[in-house]
Amino acid sequence: MTGTAHDGFVIETRGLSKRYGRKIAIDCLDIAIPAGSIHAIVGANGAGKSTLFRILLGFLPATAGEARILGRDSRYLTPSDRERIGFVNEEHTLPGWMTVAEVTAMQRRHYARWSQPAFDEVIGHYNVEATQKVGQLSRGERAGFNLALSLAQRPELLVLDEPTLGLDVVAKRAFLETLMHSNAAEGCTVIYCSHQMEEVERVADNLIILERGALRNMSSPDEFRSRVSHWVADIPFRGPDPRLVPGLLDEQRIDGVYHYLVLDQGEAFVEFLRACGARDVHRLPVSLDRAINGFLSRQHAVPAAA
């Protein structure tokens, strides 16, 4: 395809920073997201995800650094660049006073690459009538309609910001199914922001973790999971000072037994625990959501007054 992202990256930032007054939302971020497959972005509230998208889509100027989307500087996006980018936000903001048919006709006029079969395929998963007013649709129907509009645009890049927030299980399933299995979504690079680990585990080829405006992980979910390990140690006296525990994400003492969630620690961690007086040491497997949550809540791992 002509004019695709240079170097095969759909999104690329270099030294990107954004401050709101004294608060740093994006902190010298270097990120390069390759074309193809589904990339999940997770991060605590305020990690900088929404700010990043606003900058990438050219709605917000950066304080410093570079941002490129589909190979183009985000500050200079043309209408034809925008045609190649689909964006679905959590609110599914669409004019409530227009009918489904009217919104569809409007979008069709805006987008030269509009595909009616793609629209029909996606909307077929939802019980949406052309004559209905958008304001009368349920949240799940509006989400489906929004996804149908975005995919009919035949984007090369589809950015979804918390798209299933507030959807019931049925609507959520329909949404994920369309995203992963419809012909309409084929060949499209998807950026998926979500706080719902269950969805991340189902959809993500690549897991991107942002924290305080900086990139903290970029790998497959399984690879990330294997970086985190959970150790149970029976230490008869006091355990080690948490500040000395290598890679500590989370520490708990349950029924006199110490539980450690640690990052990037191999079998050498056993030696560490033994040196601290541990009698019995076990390693337990970690689920993806526990690994991500442990990683994101690391700041709270060490109580100030320990």
């Binding site: 497959s37 299995h181 993806l288």
Partner: protein, 135 residues
């Protein structure tokens, strides 16, 4: 001519085992118990992904692992089938893996402080499903 049957497996999210691992385990278990017989066809990558609402790449990776281990075989242009049974590992490797499995099991039992006799009885029952095929 063998027909594709739906593969009645479930996956759960939030499990310590990655989804791909759960698929590999479930298929191997079904082959080991004879529920999936040699020559049976597996669902397509897309089909199973859709059934489980997961990313097709996850299914593709699980199938690749099962094929590499010799549990499944590809027939050109037709899809994946359960391979005829054969010993896939050398005798030494097989013993080594068995030792590993026993070690892991024993450690768990110790951690649970479970009486060995009851553990044996439960293990016996769990392994009985494997006996069914050869019986």
């Amino acid at each position: 001519m063998a027909r594709t049957k739906a593969l009645p497996i479930q996956i759960v999210t939030g499990d310590p085992r990655p989804i791909g691992r759960q698929i590999v385990d479930a298929v191997r278990m079904r082959i080991a118990t004879g529920e999936l017989e040699p020559g049976a066809q597996l669902p397509s990558v897309r089909g199973l992904a859709q059934q489980l609402t997961i990313n097709p790449n996850t299914v593709a990776k699980a199938y690749a692992e099962l094929t590499a281990e010799g549990w499944l075989e590809a027939r050109q242009g037709l899809g994946l089938y359960v391979a005829p049974p054969r010993q896939r590992l050398s005798a030494g490797e097989r013993d080594r893996r068995m030792d590993e499995a026993i070690q892991a099991f024993v450690h768990e039992v110790v951690a649970l402080d479970y009486p060995p006799e009851r553990a044996m009885a439960r293990l016996d029952k769990a392994l009985a499903v494997l006996g069914r095929k050869s019986a």
